[in-house]
């Protein structure tokens, strides 16, 4: 059977030529903001890296309080190129969160959520939270001292939410304290629940992008815009970015291998100056600045409820801003976006230097 015959056989069953024709038709607008289109693909690529390296780590990782630390130590010291896989997994996770934030803010500022792209936006926001949950659950898995206490603090923060806080804390920890039960629970979330949910959401998100095509910024809607073919022009450009991303990941892994630290010890005192991962730092720092009481409510509770409210508001953005060409509304949204971005950046920097 030659290649043409094989292609014909597959085409008859999978309608490859129809899909290829669709892909050939797909075009990407070319304008001064086109660079931001690449961040979605980059995030997806880094997610794929996470899946591949995560599966490789699973071959040796043992999810129990007794063995987790030792198994990661074994991976990075004894397993051939285990250090590379583990470091790439950790660095890629952080880069993915970064590219996801860039992607979300670029979509926000370019109004790429306007009708009929509401589902694309909502699935994207859900994916943002899924990725953050990936980060939070994965951070505990090496079962080192920093991760142990960061999880303790993180789950305690979740526990102060009125009514549902306490049951949620017990559900997350698998008891009242962070123990081996928390580790196995987080492992379950990290390798089963979250990947399954993320896969479905990514499917919906990408399908929506294919259905509606790339959005054009509001100020270019009525203007003639150059276009390039998605296949092969845009896809090959994406590929260059992905190849360079592999280079960056390799360099980070070789020059700054991800530290393992000391094994968690529930009876040891919490390390001084404990801080969460960088993407939680702005929230952590904000909670530190809040007074003990705001009116009659605990300052911490007010802060957490405010962050939850902002998270909910993110979902309704495309339902509030329905007219991309309304200049007044656009100004308000831009202002809100800039303030939010500045707040995140400033609080993260302050969190690092203090």
């Amino acid at each position: 059977m030659n290649i043409a015959a094989l292609t014909a056989w597959l085409d008859e069953r999978l309608s490859i030529s129809t899909l290829a024709a669709m892909a050939q038709k797909k075009e990407v607008p070319v304008h001064r903001h086109s660079i931001w289109y690449y961040f979605g693909g980059m995030t997806l690529f880094l997610f794929t890296v996470q899946v591949v390296t995560g599966i490789l780590l699973l071959l040796y990782y043992r999810p129990s309080a007794e063995n987790a630390f030792e198994s990661v130590q074994f991976i990075i010291t004894e397993v051939k190129f285990g250090w590379l896989i583990r470091s790439i997994h950790s660095w890629s996770a952080n880069l993915m969160v970064a590219t996801l934030f860039v992607h979300m803010f670029s979509v926000f500022f370019l109004r790429a959520y306007y009708p009929p792209r509401e589902i694309t936006w909502v699935s994207g926001v859900l994916l943002l939270f899924i990725v953050i949950c990936f980060g939070f659950s994965g951070y505990l898995l090496p079962w080192n001292k920093l991760a142990f206490f960061a999880t303790k603090v993180g789950t305690e923060i979740a526990g102060v939410i009125p009514i549902i806080g306490r049951p949620m804390l017990r559900f997350l920890r698998g008891g009242d304290d962070v123990t081996g039960a928390t580790l196995t629970r987080f492992f379950g979330f990290h390798v089963a629940v979250l990947p399954a949910t993320a896969t479905v959401l990514i499917g919906i998100h990408v399908l929506m992008v294919q259905l509606h095509g790339m959005s054009v910024p509001p100020d270019l809607i009525d203007k003639p815009v150059k276009k390039m073919k998605f296949v092969p022009n845009f896809l090959l450009r994406d590929l260059i970015g992905w190849i360079l991303a592999i280079g960056v990941l390799a360099a980070l892994a070789a020059l700054f291998p991800w530290e393992l630290g000391e094994k968690a010890d529930a009876f040891a005192p919490a390390p001084a100056g404990i801080k969460p991962e960088w993407y939680f730092l702005f929230m952590f720092q904000t909670l530190k600045y809040l007074p003990a009481k705001i009116w009659i409510i605990d300052g911490e509770v007010v802060g957490i409820m405010a962050f939850n409210l902002v998270a909910l508001l993110l979902f309704i953005v495309p339902f509030v801003d329905r007219s991309p060409q309304n200049k007044r509304r656009r100004l308000v949204f831009n202002l809100v976006g800039v303030v939010a971005l500045l707040f995140i950046v400033v609080m993260t920097i302050v969190g690092y230097v203090t």
Partner: protein, 438 residues
């Protein structure tokens, strides 16, 4: 028949009688409650006296352990605390003893504290041999000989304000013992008549034991009574000093007993531990004490050429070799760790070498080179293993960097190829578009 007026008068009388009975019952209740409190006219009177010497016992007694256990003045001094007059309270027919003489104090306290049956009522865990021990002490022997300047029970435990030994304010609480002993023993004038030095406290404060007790707040660190005894306080003699130190430093004492030094020290009447370590000013030992270099303690007795001189030099060089080897291994492991390499396991395994060093420092008490070698040899092997692990980690780091350089060349080359391909595709697309337009 009574008239209305007579009836009213009768009701008034009944009401008055009822009020009087109620008042009487109330007074009776108050009186009964007041009488239930144990009366102590001793404290009532003494607390009011202007002479502080006489009022102090009543005031101090507030915090006394005996008071807390329900005892009062008359339980020691006799007399009648229920009497409201001085004469009645101090009535000799009621067993009044008054202030005991110094020579009588041990027996005065021993009256209860040597009575096992009685003490069980208050504190069953308390020993009852203090009085007997006291008379075996230097203090007790001198007191029996008529010397009244010596310490008795109250000199250390205080009087009237006696606290439990577990009370940090007690004069005999672990961290207060040295100061209590120093009250007499650090006074040159007071000690002159006994012909003993008065610098023990000053020396003790410079010792490693005092550092542990006062700086680290380690209450198990020895103070005066841990070596000298408390009630049976006696300076340990030459023959028993090793036993005293051996209470805590058991391994060192045991090794010393098997060493060639034992017979030599016995023959020369040298105190076993204190000859090298001193007694009150016990400094933290260093490796410089061992060996044949200037400043070492071994050369105080051993001369070049003798067996001990050779052994001292040899043991010192074994320990120095191990220290150098551990240092070298730690340096390279630290360097690898700073470079981001995972070396926590070899660092942990270096404990084997540091444990061997600690063990070797103990084994020098055998004064036998072969014994020290038994632990320094595996220690050196463990340190060498750590060094190899450090070298391996640094070599792995080089390999990673070289691998990265090769990979980056390949990655950039691949990215360049794709870029050229995009350029080529777009050039052809442009030409096709021009051709279509044409």
């Amino acid at each position: 028949m009574c008239t209305h007026r007579e009836m009213k008068a009768l009701r008034d009388v009944t009401s008055s009688v009822r009020c009087a009975i109620m008042a009487f019952l109330t007074l009776l209740l108050v009186f009964t409650l007041a009488s239930a409190q144990k009366k102590s006219s001793c404290i009532e009177c003494h607390a009011r006296l202007d002479d502080s010497k006489l009022s102090a016992p009543a005031k101090l007694f507030d915090n006394d352990i005996h008071r807390a256990r329900g005892l009062s003045c008359n339980d020691c001094h006799g007399g009648d605390p229920n009497s409201d007059t001085k004469e009645g309270a101090k009535d000799p027919s009621k067993g009044f003893l008054g202030k005991p003489k110094t020579v009588d104090i041990p027996a005065y306290c021993g009256k209860c504290h040597s009575d096992a049956n009685l003490m069980k009522r208050f504190n069953p865990s308390l020993r009852v041999d203090q009085e007997r021990e006291y008379y075996s002490s230097v203090h007790g022997k001198l007191l029996r000989g008529g010397e009244t300047k010596v310490a008795t029970c109250i000199s250390c435990h205080s009087v009237h304000g006696i606290r439990a030994i577990s009370d940090p304010l007690s004069s005999v609480y672990a961290s207060n013992v040295a100061e209590t002993c120093a009250t007499c023993h650090a006074s040159a004038d007071y000690m002159r008549s006994f012909g003993i030095p008065s610098d023990q406290y000053t020396k003790y404060k410079t010792s490693v034991h005092a550092a542990a007790l006062y700086e680290k707040q380690d209450l198990s660190a020895p103070t005066c009574n841990d070596c000298h005894g408390n009630h049976g306080a006696t300076p340990p003699g030459i023959a028993s000093v090793a036993n005293v130190c051996g209470q805590c430093h058991a391994r060192q004492a045991e090794l010393f007993q098997t060493s060639p030094h034992k017979a030599a020290f016995d023959q020369k009447q040298l105190g076993e531990c204190i000859t090298c370590h001193n007694n009150h000013a016990i400094a933290k030992p260093t490796d410089h004490w061992l060996g044949i270099n200037p400043g070492s303690l071994c050369i105080n007795c051993h001369k070049p050429g003798d067996k001990g001189f050779v052994a001292a030099g040899s043991m010192r060089s074994q320990i120095d070799d191990l220290i150098a080897s551990i240092g070298k291994s730690n340096d390279i492991l630290d360097q690898a760790e700073r470079a981001g390499m995972e070396v926590s396991r070899p660092k942990f395994e270096m404990k084997e070498a540091t444990d061997a060093l600690t063990h070797a420092r103990v084994l020098i008490h055998t004064s036998v080179t072969a014994e020290v070698d038994k632990v320094t040899a595996p220690g050196l092997a463990a340190a060498a293993k750590g060094y190899q692990a450090g070298l391996g980690a640094l070599s792995e780091r080089r390999f990673r960097r070289e691998g990265l350089a090769v990979s980056l060349v390949f990655i950039l080359f691949l990215a360049g190829l794709v870029y050229l391909k995009v350029r080529d595709i777009e050039r052809r697309q442009k030409q096709a578009a021009i051709a279509d337009e044409g």
